[in-house]
Amino acid sequence: MPYHEFKCSRCIPERKQHAVFKGKGETITDALPLGYLNTIPGSISERGCAYCGAKHVIGTPMKDVIHLSHGPIGCTYDTWQTKRYISDNDNFQIKYTFATDMKEKHIVFGAEKQLKQCIVEAFKACPHIKRMSIYQTCASALIGDDIEAIAQEVMDEMPDVDIFVCNSPGFGGPSQSGGHHKINIAWINQKVGTVEPDLLSDYVINYVGEYNIQGDQEVMIDFFNRMGVQVLATFTGNGRYDDLRAMHKAHLNVLECARSAEYICNELRKRYGTPRLDIDGFGFEPLGSSLRKVGLFFGIEDRAQAIIDEETARWKPELDWYKARLTGRKVCLWPGGSKLWHWAHVIHDEMGMDVVSVYTKFGHQGDMEKGISRCEEGALAIDDPNELEGLEAMETLTPDIIFTGKRPGEVAKKIRVPYLNAHAYHNGPWKGWEGWVRFARDIYNAVYSPIHRLALLDIGKDEIPTDKGFETQRMLSDADLPDEVRNDPVLREYTGKYNCLKDLRKKTYPPFERNVLAEAV
């Protein structure tokens, strides 16, 4: 598994240790990219800062909370609404963004007074919200404002409010990952154990490392509800502040994104003895196996199996319609962290796509170990790539599509490579059986969009064909398909609704079972 040197990065020799080709018969013990290191000077990274990782990835998905940045307005405003972590309370947490608007005078004279004013003003402006998270930024960290003291002062004066303080300034780590760590630890230190919850079921879990991107969490909660499993708290997508204070009372922590949230699971295991179960929520087979594991833990695996059977029967013909048309298409799987391993094997197994490259912006070497193990031989694994490396990789690997963030995605478009937003999605949710079909549909729509054919032509130099009409997606995707597949009576395109969450939010469930176990003993 040789390390790979990008031509464009020859002037930054350290970069060679950050890219590796997965060779035939080789394993992660032959070569592994370096990871979670400071970005090398001269390499224009696509990473975010540690404040961003704490606030915009983990903190802000909490839905009933005023999220206040203590710093210059740009820290919060310029990153506002870059993620689609929706919620079922009218998206309060993404509709509004709050900052203390620090200016030069505050740097000179301190900004604690300003902070207190802002806290009080924000609570007054949103009288129905009684919870707040305050995020330190570089500026407020450097001048040493005591945010905890101010928060405590306000809590003493306004007994009905509760405030969480997250000290994770932008420089608190090589990337957003430093912020994930800091906010995990801050939450368990400050807040877990401060609320005693109502346990409604014999089977109680925390669902951890799930951020409700376009409704993923709501899809998963539906499965857990159908199994009679009470989700005490979701860390943090669509999660309630007070539920998250009660995390210590769950029987099991079900961990989805280990990259961003393993820390709190490890601490809950150490401090409260709650075991940690790592799962995959994407793809038919991995999701089914994950639900079954949760079922096995509580001895109710038959309930998981019933869901697996029902959902597979409903959605498999649709997934297979897309699989027939996506097989052999090449993809660069370039997300931020955990999706490189959540998706690497399953888009190959269940959609037939070939993963020609995996990369991570802020992952650690452990994420690369998982991702490289799961992808096929020949894939190029890159840690913290710069823009030129991304371009060079696309030019040499010629992918049909890339799954990545907005910044590299727009770069890809310039060289006519379609992209899907791996962080915020296109037409999600992408979790659940239906969600996985929606993902396949988004990939299909991107790969076969006729616009990309048109965009490939340069009216400055190419001859523009005038004898052909506009090509449709089906004309492009079905051109080489055998007749029996094209006309297969079982396979069909996605038949779900435009908004698949609407009905889910209206759904009711039978009451949970409580004390069945205790009575049985």
Binding site: I28, T29, G273, S373
Partner: protein
């Protein structure tokens, strides 16, 4: 029964590295514990020995072990033709191999970081 012991271990290893996540906790001590407990329980299950699932911790290990034992049986029909001694040897070899891939041979520089 088909293939050498090494081939058989490779098939099981392939399943674990592609489908499982439990072997990739973030520190050496953590990975060692995971490997020992989960592969140990899988071994007991394949040998038909009793497995203790008294504590939540044990039950959580058992969940991964039982899922894996079932998958091994489905994917590797040759397991049914193996004697108990052979299965024990197979699982010992697998344990050694997974320990190598994830701990002793791992190039992950964070594994021995003092901070969690």
């Amino acid at each position: 029964m088909s293939g050498s012991m090494q081939d058989k271990i490779a098939q099981l290893e392939n399943y674990i590295m592609k489908k499982c996540l439990w072997q990739f906790h973030s520190r050496t001590w953590d990975r060692k514990r995971q490997n020992e407990r989960i592969l140990g329980m899988t071994r007991q299950l394949l040998l038909g020995e009793p497995v203790s699932t008294e504590t939540p911790e044990e039950r959580c290990y058992w969940v991964d072990a039982v899922t894996m034992a079932e998958a091994f049986k489905v994917r590797c029909p040759w397991l049914a033709d193996m004697s108990r001694e052979e299965i024990a040897g197979l699982m010992d070899g697998l344990y050694e191999r997974i320990d190598f891939l994830t701990v002793t041979g791992s190039l992950n520089q964070e594994l021995n970081d003092q901070h969690y």
